[in-house]
Structure formats: C-alpha cells, structure tokens
C-alpha cells in the first residue's frame, strides 16, 4: 500500500463539477504516476479544461477528492499546491522581458535567479532572446518561454492546456517532440489537455479519453487505438468502418451473403443483429482474386491522396452493399493499378471484426 502511494503523483477520486444545472464533470477517477505524461483527450466542451483547472485549484471542487503526493489538496488554493501551468494563450506578461517573465516565480538571491534563468533559456534553446519582450518573438518561442516560466520553480507537476493549438502545423510538430523530450529529461509528471488525437497518441504515456464530462477510457496510446472501450473512443481516435450484421454464432456473423469470423469474446448471440467495426488499415486489398470466405469484390467509388497514403471508398455488393473506407500505401496502389469504377478484391482478415456487444453500447 505504502509503496503504491509512493510513486503516485496525483490521485483523483470521484470528482464532480457543475455550473448551475449543467454537469461539466461526473465521477472522475484518475491516478497519475510520478514522471508520467498523461493526455486528456476529448471533443470541445467535454470538460478537459475544467478538470485541469480543478487540479490547478482554479475551479472550486464541490464533489470528490484530489490528492497530490498523498496530500489532500481538494480545497487548497493554487498557491498551496505544487505545479506549473501553461495556458493556451501563454499569458506571458507583456511589459516584462523574457528574462523577467521566466524569473517571475523565482525567489532567493539575485545571482541564483539569474543562473536559473540562464539554465532554463539554455534548456528551451532560446539563449540570447532574454532581453526581448513577448510581443517581439514568434508564437513558438512564446510557447517555450511560457514552458520555461512554468518549469522555473521545478514543480513536481506540469499542467498544459492545449499548449500547441495556437501554432501552425510545422512548428506544432517540432514542439511536440521538444516538449516530450524535455519532459522525459526532467522526469516531471505532466498532464496535457488536447483535442488533437495525433498529439495525444504521439506524446502521451497514457491517454484519458473524455466525453460529456465523463472518462470513456484510460489507457496507453496502443490500448486506446487497438482496444477502444466504447464506440465513442473508437470513432474519436482514428477512423472506423461500421457494419450492421446478424450474429450467426458466438464469434461469427452474417454480412450480406457472406459469413465472417469476428475477434474472440465479442459476446454475440446467434440470431441477434449486431454492430461491428474495423479500422480502414485492417482491410486488405488483394492484387488478384482468391476465392475464400473472407474475400469479396468491391467497386472503387473514390480515392483521395492524403500525403503518404491514399484513402479509398469501396462499395461491396456481396456484403450487403456496405461502403468501406480503406487506406492504401503508394506502393500498394502502384501494384494494384486501379481506377475509379473498377472492381477489386477486398478481404477482411478473420478475427479483425469487433463489436461493443449486441448494440448495447451505441
């Protein structure tokens, strides 16, 4: 018991929050280990920022409990907690130069503070900019200054609210990597809010997927992507094909004229309708026809070039006319040599079809 608490940075128990009649958060349970990078992911308005602000002590906590390193901070004021925070707007002080911004929370002797600021400027790779004012540097640089300011006092917890959303795509990708490696070097526990799934998948050790004020799933990026716990998670992270079929056994279904094998333990009941999903990249395109029960002929409706891959839309008459989304690499496309309107063999590998129970969770 003691050892388990030792490596816990944050323990959130049954947290709830309402704004008047509106419930912003409900039954939030979340533990974050020391040194972990956790992303709060969810659509706009799902309560990510609210949860982060409650951890920061910026919203009053009405229900539940928050423990930081075993200490109950549920009702502590922000100054009584131990964290650094970066907001979406960065909130850099416009009338203070970069050096003074970073040094804002530092105490102690002048030389020590100067040394610490130099250290941080080095860390974020911006030495030489310290006499400039926030309005004089770029968005990406402002973002790093805000990060340095939050890290200056060496807090044990770092909170980031959509720190990259105000930047353009290239800078964003670069900073993603930088923030992550900085976090690993300093080994500081980090909670980051984002609504960008790519950001969450690439940066997080664990992702917390939220929707309508509740946690849908907590897991590693792999778990979230490959074993989504709900239809919402499956749809929100990555793309999904949804197929309406009828169960013919505990792990087999009838789709149109075909009998397909699903993944094990899908709790299907024979004879009942069911909703199945499969990721676009799990569907195979075959260069030649291979008569097998999991193969059918599809008609290419449309293809779209999205950088490194193609996204295809294929209608399969044999599977009840279902329209599938499939992705293909450039190499595959070169091998297949197909055009819109042409027919192509499509295969759903056995065991890749999954469901969330017989329509129980839609």
């Amino acid at each position: 018991m003691q050892t388990e608490l030792d490596h816990r940075e944050l323990d959130i128990r049954q947290l709830g929050k309402s704004f008047g009649a509106f419930t912003a958060l409900k039954n939030i349970d979340l533990s974050v280990n020391k040194g972990e990078f956790v992303c709060l992911l969810g659509p706009s308005g799902c309560g990510k920022t609210t949860l982060l602000r409650m951890i920061a002590g910026l919203e009053r906590c009405e229900q539940g409990q928050i423990l930081q390193a075993g200490r109950d901070i549920t009702r502590a004021s922000p100054a009584q907690r131990d964290y650094g925070i970066v907001f979406q707007s960065y909130a850099l002080f416009p009338n203070l130069n970069i050096r003074d911004n970073i040094a804002y929370g530092l105490k102690g002797r002048q030389e020590d503070r100067q040394r610490r600021v130099d250290e941080l400027l080095e860390l974020i790779g911006l030495p030489g900019l310290d006499r400039k004012y926030p309005a004089q540097i770029s968005g990406g640089q402002q973002q790093r200054v805000a990060l340095a300011r939050a890290l200056a006092t060496s807090p044990s917890l770092l909170l980031l609210d959509e720190p990259l959303s105000a930047l353009d795509a290239q800078v964003r990708e670069h900073l993603r990597f930088e923030i992550k490696s900085l976090q690993q070097r300093l080994n500081v526990t980090t909670i980051m809010v984002t609504h960008d799934q790519e950001e969450a998948l690439t940066m997080a050790d664990r992702i917390v997927v939220m929707n309508h004020g509740v946690i849908e799933q907590i897991g590693t990026p792999e778990q979230i992507y490959h074993q989504p716990a709900s239809r919402f998670v499956a749809n929100f992270v990555g793309h999904c094909n949804w197929l309406s079929a009828t169960a013919s056994g505990t792990r087999s279904v009838t789709l149109g004229q075909a009998d397909l094998l699903t993944a094990p333990e899908q709790n299907l009941r024979a004879g009942e309708p069911c909703e199945l999903y499969i990721r676009p990249e799990d569907i195979e395109l075959l260069p030649s026809w291979d008569p097998e029960s999991h193969t059918a002929l599809g008609k290419l409706l449309h293809r779209e070039l999205i950088g490194s891959i193609y996204r295809l839309r294929v209608a399969v008459a044999q599977w009840g006319g279902v329209e599938l989304q499939i992705v293909a690499t450039h190499r595959e496309m070169a091998n297949l040599r197909i055009d819109d309107g042409q027919l192509i063999p499509v295969r759903i590998p056995p065991g890749r079809l999954r469901s969330f129970g017989s329509g129980a969770r839609v």
Partner: protein
C-alpha cells in the same frame, strides 16, 4: 495520509475585505444620499408621515407646471438642433477625407473644459444689452428661451458628438461594397446601410442631450431672464427660500428623465455592440474634393461658432469695461475685491480636483481590479457594478441635494464631514464614477484572463502581480481616469452648489455667485481660468501619456 493546513491565505481574506470596503464606501456615497432625498420628498414636513401629500403639494405649487413645460420644450428644441449638427460633424470626421480632422475633433470637444455657465456669460457679451451683436437679438430677447438654447447647444454638442463618433466608427466596409455593387445610389446607401447602423447612436445621443438640458440649471440662471426651468426652480427653492422639501420633490422629478435615458442608453449600447460582426472590415475613405471641401467648410463654421463663444468669454475677462473701455486689463482677475470667494476659491478648486483625481482613481481602480481580477473578491463584483452604474442616472443637482440631507442629518455618524473639503471630494467622485469605472473595467478586461492564475501557480501573491504587471499595463487608462476626474470636478457646478460652505468655496460656484452679484466680467475671468486649468491639466496628462507610451513602446508591438 497527511492533512495539509488549508485555511484561506490571509491575503485572500484581505482582498475580500478590501473589495467589500470599496462597495461599502460607494454605497455610502450613493445609496445614503439617494435614500435621504427620496425620504425628504415623500415625508410630510408637518406630520412626519410618509405619503404623497408633500409631493402633491409641491407639484401643485404655482409655476411648477410652467417650468416643467419650459424644461421639456427647451430640451426638445436643443436636441433637434444639436443632433443634426453633431451628426454631420461626426460624419465629416469619420466618413470624409477632409484635412485637419485631429484639430477639428479637438476644437469640437473644447466645451467639455468649460463650466456650463460659460456659454451664458459669453452670450451676454455677444448679444446682451451691451453686446457687440445686440442687433441680432433686439430688445434683450437673448435673455430667455433662445439664449438658453444657444448655451445648451454649446454645452451638449461635444457629448452628442462623442456618442455619434463611436457609432459611425463601427462601419463595415463590406456592406458599402455590397450596396455599391448592387447599384444603390448614395441616398439609398445612406438609408439602407448607414442609418440602420447609427440609429442606436442617434437615439443614445438624443436622450443624453435631452437629459443634460433638463437637469442643467446654469444656463437658465445666467441667461434665462424670466424664463424659468425645473432645475433652476430646485436651485431657487433650496438656496433662495430654504425650502428643502420642495427642492427634494423637484430633485425626484429630475431623476425621472435621467433614469429613463439611462435605461434607453443602456439598451441602445447593447444593440450597437451586437451590430458589429467580428469580421467587419474597416471602412477606407476615398478622396472626393467636393464632398471633403464642403465637410471642411461645415466643420469650420461649427467649430468657429463654438470657439467664438469660448473666445468671447476669455476676451471679456481681459477687457477693462465692456463695451466702453476696450483696453486690455487684468483688473477682473482681482477676485479678492469682489464677493464670491476670491482666489481662494480657485485654489480650493484645484486642490479639490486634485483630491478627486487621486482618491477617485484609487477607489475606482482598486475596486475594479479586485472584482475583475482577484478570485477571492469576485463575490462583490455584481454589487460594485450596479452601484457604479448608478451615478449615470442621478443628476448632479439631485446627488448634491442628497448629500445635504444625508450628511447634514444630526444622527449621521459621518456628520463631521459636512462642510469640509472631504464631502466635496466624495460627491465629485460619486458624480463621475460611472465613466471612470467603465474605463477601468474595459482596460482590465483587455488583459489576459490567466495572468492571475499563472502568478498563483508561481506562488507570487496577487498584489505583487497587480503592481508588476496589471498596473503598468493599465497605466494609460489610469491616467485617463485621473484626467477625467480632474476636469469634471474643475467644471462641475451642479454637484457641489448645495454643499460648499464659505470656507470651501469653489471656482465654478464663484462664477455663479459673481454673475449673480452683477460682476459678470469677474465671472468671465474665473470661468476662463477654469478653462485654462482644465486645458493645462489635459496637456499635462497628454505629455505624461506620451512619455509613457514611448517608454512602453518596446513592449507594446
């Protein structure tokens, strides 16, 4: 599990307490006097009973109906004259490419630096019995309706202009482009695009002008002759006849148009704000020599008229004996030789304006800052805001009278303030609170909402952040507020005319008294002195602002 000590930090309790104190002080400055004047109006002096008797008796008094009608007529005519003038002037400034816009704007706002008595005095010299242009208004007909109207046009013009400038500035170029593309002529464009976008501004300007005229007594006092108006009646009842309860009744009557205009103006502003889409394109005005030339001519005429009224008062101050001995003389500035308070009144005015600027700015900014930015003080926000909006709906005359009833009441523990400079400062702060508060709130709202949250996470106390960040960033607004308090206090008559004492005589009141005693030239001299000190104060604040801007240019992009 360790249980941390989680009492609220002492600084938070302090912030809560300080904000509460601001609210309390403001309530004392406003609610107390208002309740006092209302109870005066509704309590029968003979029986001490609440009821309508006192009210009804006052209303039925001879002359009341006539002066009410006079006030309304005066306000209507003034509004009808000021509105088109101010609209054309604002349109010339916003929608043409005429040269000298900055100068024209400044000239049009000059009347704001003068006490409302000044135009009346100038008119006496221009068109009065000894006036240079006496023939324009033969047989002293300037003393009366038209004299007051001209004085009120001078006094209310800049107020209407400012509102219309704001309304016209928010033009969306895309609408005009669309109208042109659709082939709409100039008149149709004006009817379909311009008018809808400024109609709330026009409404707002109209009610403001109307109200200003109804609640002002200065112009009627100086140039009104036998033409009596409601506000002047209140003044006469209290000062001349010591009939306080009649004064209170008229005060309550004056509250009605002020309250109405407050509500209308509030609604109009809300609509005005909603009109401008977030993606509106600013209008770029093209040169059109004919139109620009006409605009310049019009603005020159209007500002020339305003300026000549102002110049007349100043000239009168320096001329030995109008119109017989037209030599330069400083004799009229020997205020100590005439009744009316002497130079002491002027120094007292300066001191009091300075006091109002310092304490008013302090109260306004601390109140606004705490309730906008410090979480612990936020429960007070609604109350403070409501109180801060109240002065807009209370005429100075009514507020001042309320101060008499409230602070002069023997059972009031603050009775000691009565008759001191402190009560004058309090009343002036209260009188000008609304605009100052809105300026502060607007400036504070422009700061990032998360500054305080960041500071708290860095364990820097909120007051240190206020000192290091909030105040420096808001300093231009703070200077603006201080200037507004200073100039307002320097020029106001109505708010202080009931509460000064011979020991705390003020310049603006002494203008009134000297004019009353027949020393019109001395009154003109004092009025000119007020204009000069207001202008000087504006200049000083402008220089301060400029220095500040230069210093902060580095961090403002």
């Amino acid at each position: 599990m360790m249980q941390a000590a989680q009492q609220r930090p002492r600084s938070e309790i302090f912030a809560w307490g300080l904000a509460g104190l601001c609210v309390l002080v403001l309530a004392m400055m406003l609610i107390g006097p208002l309740v006092a004047i209302l109870s005066q109006a509704f309590i029968d002096p003979a029986s001490g009973q609440w009821g309508w008797q006192s009210m009804a008796a006052s209303l039925a008094a001879p002359g009341m109906l006539q002066s009410t009608l006079n006030s309304v007529q005066l306000a209507l005519v003034t509004t009808l004259i000021v509105l088109p003038l101010a609209y054309l002037y604002a349109a010339a400034l916003c929608r043409t490419a005429m040269p000298g816009k900055g100068l024209m704007r400044m000239l049009a706002l000059l009347p704001l630096l003068a006490p409302s008595l000044l135009p009346g005095i100038a008119l006496v010299y221009l068109f009065g019995n000894q006036g240079i242009l006496k023939s324009w208004f033969p047989d002293g007909s300037i003393y009366g309706f038209w004299g007051i109207v001209i004085a009120q046009v001078f006094y209310t013009f800049p107020h209407a202009l400012m509102i219309l400038l704001t309304a016209l500035r928010v033009a969306d170029a895309r609408l005009y482009e669309a109208a042109t593309v659709l082939g709409a002529g100039k008149i149709r464009q004006w009817l379909t695009v311009t008018l809808p976008s400024v109609r709330y501004g026009l409404l707002s300007a109209a009610v403001v002008v109307f109200t200003l005229v109804v609640i002002d007594f200065g112009a009627a006092k100086v140039i009104g002759g036998q033409f009596n108006v409601l506000a002047l009646e209140a003044y006469k009842q209290v000062i001349g006849q010591q009939n306080f309860s009649r004064g209170a009744v008229i005060g309550v009557l004056l509250l009605i148009p002020a309250l109405l205009s407050f509500v209308l103006d509030h609604l109009a502003q809300r609509k005005q704000q909603a009109m401008l889409g977030a993606r509106a394109q600013p209008l770029v005005v093209q040169r059109q020599p004919l139109r620009d030339g006409l605009a310049l001519l019009f603005c020159t005429l209007v500002s020339g008229a305003l300026l000549s009224i102002l110049a007349m008062a100043v000239a009168a101050a320096f001329i030995k004996l109008w119109p017989y001995q037209m030599q330069f003389s400083l004799n009229h500035f020997n205020f100590d030789d005439v009744d009316g308070g002497g130079w002491g009144a002027f120094y007292n005015s300066l001191l009091m304006s300075l006091g109002t600027a310092v304490f008013g700015t302090l109260l306004v900014f601390v109140g606004a800052w705490l309730t906008e930015k410090v979480a612990a003080a936020q429960p007070w926000r609604q109350a403070l805001h409501l109180l801060a909006m109240l002065p807009m709906a209370v005429p100075g005359l009514v507020l001042g009278l309320g101060y008499v009833f409230f602070f002069n009441h023997p059972s009031n523990p603050l009775h000691g303030v009565y008759g001191t400079q402190a009560i004058l400062v309090l009343c002036s702060i209260a009188h000008f609170y609304t605009t100052a508060h809105l300026t502060a709130v607007t400036a504070l709202k422009q700061l990032d909402r998360e500054f305080e949250a960041v500071a708290a996470s860095l364990k820097v106390p909120f007051w240190l952040t206020a000192w290091r960040v909030t105040l420096p960033v808001c300093l231009p607004a703070v200077l603006d507020i201080a200037r507004y308090f200073f100039v307002g206090t320097m020029t106001t008559v109505s708010a202080v005319v009931f509460i000064y004492t011979p020991d705390t005589m003020l310049a603006s009141v002494s203008v009134l008294n000297m004019d009353d005693a027949g020393d019109t030239a001395a009154a003109a001299a004092m009025a000119s002195l007020i204009v000069a000190s207001s202008a000087l104060a504006c200049a000083i604040f402008a220089v301060l602002s400029w220095l500040l801007q230069r210093k902060s240019q580095r961090w403002r992009d």
